[in-house]
Symmetry: C3
Subunit: 279 residues, 3 copies
């Protein structure tokens, strides 16, 4: 049985680009199961792709090969790479798309995909997803040793991570990273219960030590002067009302029950926001 | 060989939410074939999800496990359930999403998904599709007995169904349920040929007896005074002209050949409409 | 092991139509691997579907069964057909959707899908993708001989192809076929390196002999008077700058680095354009 291959790109579903990648994979590793993570990363938004990849990876079987192609520099000197961790392998351009995963856990091998034996016979300058990354993933899923793909790659590109800042003992400053399909805001403020204690974390930064924080009385000050209290889920507030809560990936999120926070709250993606806990 | 799992949600294709569900399924039941029904149910539109699920289920192999997640009440006291019929199992929230299927055929078992052994280890308050429904479906596809998932669930939530009304012997009143991607209107008026006889039905209501009805001379009175005659297909009328016909699921539909009825006819979703047969 | 089945339609991802087709395939050929090429062909745009199918087919495993359903004439007298080539089979309406493939290579068998034993028991007038094409593809993937599906079909429908015109020894006139998700223009000007020589081709026309052409000094005159020089990839020019290059399918394309050519250049889909080489 071949490994699972998960695909994340900014190719959209309009063109047959993703289908071509799957055709290439089926040609090389017919037994591999291919799963779409998303192909709707905004064109060229490497940061968003890196974040979604990091969010999704823990829910896949050990040994999954992730192909991440948000690649505005395709065909230029940016390298193409594969990175192995104990439980997964990633394939894609060396442009920061693996930043969050690399920040979370040290890889065990990183190679540059220079071995042409594992490229398509004819490599285009603008579609390495099909010609280099899909074949590499298929061969890896089929059992190829990562070292066969090329020499070690060092000094990988890292994107700046959106860090938390402690304003005082009761206040942390984070940022709205993006809004999802429901118009819910996703932030970089990680919240976790460890041994019954509420902890504040930066999940992709092992260097930010988990900090004790009493969520029970926490709130998000809104730009309009209101204090948004933490609930457990959307339905905890009346329809049309805003609510902050710990999202499904452990990050603070802000939603409007049966509405769209991104369209109705006085906040926007990219903006900083505070989480206050007057304990 | 594991069963087929079919997914219907309102998660869209923008975020990796559906991909995460598939990762969870692949982890538990790697042999299961996963098929997307649609993930573009309008956010929170349980009724639409229930209708599409009912339309699609007959075309799947016996034993298919359907996961339906349109779940605005996620994390509140609404139950999570699994329902077994002789030829299929459904998994999702107890909020009416199975209304049409339940109206069509009596289930053989209904359970509440309370057995935590079959949840993900960590269950979020806002993504039960990933943490409870996907695992349940994967275990079921893998052969788990539905009774293992939890105790019987009774008094399931039912949504009101859009019923037909006989105005007189020649006229039935129905409703435009929605418009599809082509701008074609789908109604709740079911039309069927039984033993060569034209019959009018409410397909999800065994209690509405099939009624003889002569389609040959039937028409839909339009708001603009015109009478729209029944054709067999779009191409039966000139480009730009409207046509009523029996759609691919046996429901009366209204389209504009090579155009969009939803954008050009004086009718809209939710509106009542008549079907007249002056025999 | 069953063959791969690749699907291309204009059904979109909003409705469960594609899901129903996959349910039908899973019922008949549970072992078949199903891959989506795209379902976002603009409604009724047979030409676009034919082009994307032709672009994608070479990247699929030998023996793949392609189902192509852009079918505005469904239910009228247009035929439903299957076409076999040595390395693939296509299934769909006889309306020109296979034009590019047919122009590229002579098929070995063409049949009309009249054998009702291989249709669904109940065939609708508006959804042959589900009732006729999906079953045919599933039986073929399962090993059925194409001749079983019906009698030979001759005189297939062909769409007019967008031909190149040599204006003089240094200038060829082509056309902008469409824009992709990134806003990149795709043209019908084929460019190829054969034995180190730059060649100009019409890839779907074996009758247009490859013509020697010096790309090194080639340019595309823009409507605003500028000459757009050929680069190798987007990143060869500064962000916001336009670039022409040989796209991933060997066709001349025009893009704006980190922008959208379709929204910012003084050109549009359907328009003619020149490629000049002052050697």
């Amino acid at each position: 049985l071949a490994a699972t291959i998960a695909l994340l790109t900014d190719f959209g579903n309009q063109d047959p680009y993703v289908g071509m990648m799957k055709g290439v994979i089926a040609s090389i590793a017919p037994q591999a199961k291919v799963i779409d993570l998303t192909h709707a990363i905004p064109p060229g938004n490497i940061n968003r792709g890196a974040f979604e990849l990091w969010q999704s990876a823990p829910f896949f079987p050990p040994g999954t090969v992730f192909v991440a192609v948000v690649d505005p520099g395709v065909g230029t000197i940016r390298r193409q790479i594969a990175i192995a961790w104990p439980d997964k392998i990633c394939v894609g351009p060396d442009n920061g798309i693996f930043t969050y995963l690399l920040a979370t856990e040290q890889p065990v091998a990183t190679v540059e995909l220079t071995n042409r034996a594992y490229h398509l016979k004819k490599v285009s300058t603008t579609f390495h997803g099909r010609d280099i990354f899909a074949p590499a993933a298929a061969y890896l899923a089929h059992g190829l040793n990562i070292e066969e793909l090329g020499p070690p790659a060092i000094d990988l590109i890292h994107l700046p991570l959106p860090h938390l800042e402690m304003i005082d003992d009761e206040t942390v400053q984070g940022r709205i990273l993006h809004a999802d399909r429901f118009g819910n805001f996703i932030t970089n403020i990680g919240l976790l219960k460890i041994d019954g204690e509420d902890m504040l974390i930066e999940p992709w930064l092992p260097f930010f030590p988990p900090t004790r924080f009493k969520f029970k009385d926490a709130f998000v000050p809104l730009p309009n002067g209101a204090d948004l209290r933490l609930g457990a889920t959307f339905g905890d507030v009346a329809p049309g009302e805003p609510v902050a809560y710990i999202g499904s990936s452990g990050m603070l999120e802000i939603a409007v029950n049966q509405g769209r926070a991104a369209d109705s709250l006085p906040m926007q993606v990219g903006q900083e926001l505070l989480l206050v806990c007057k304990g």
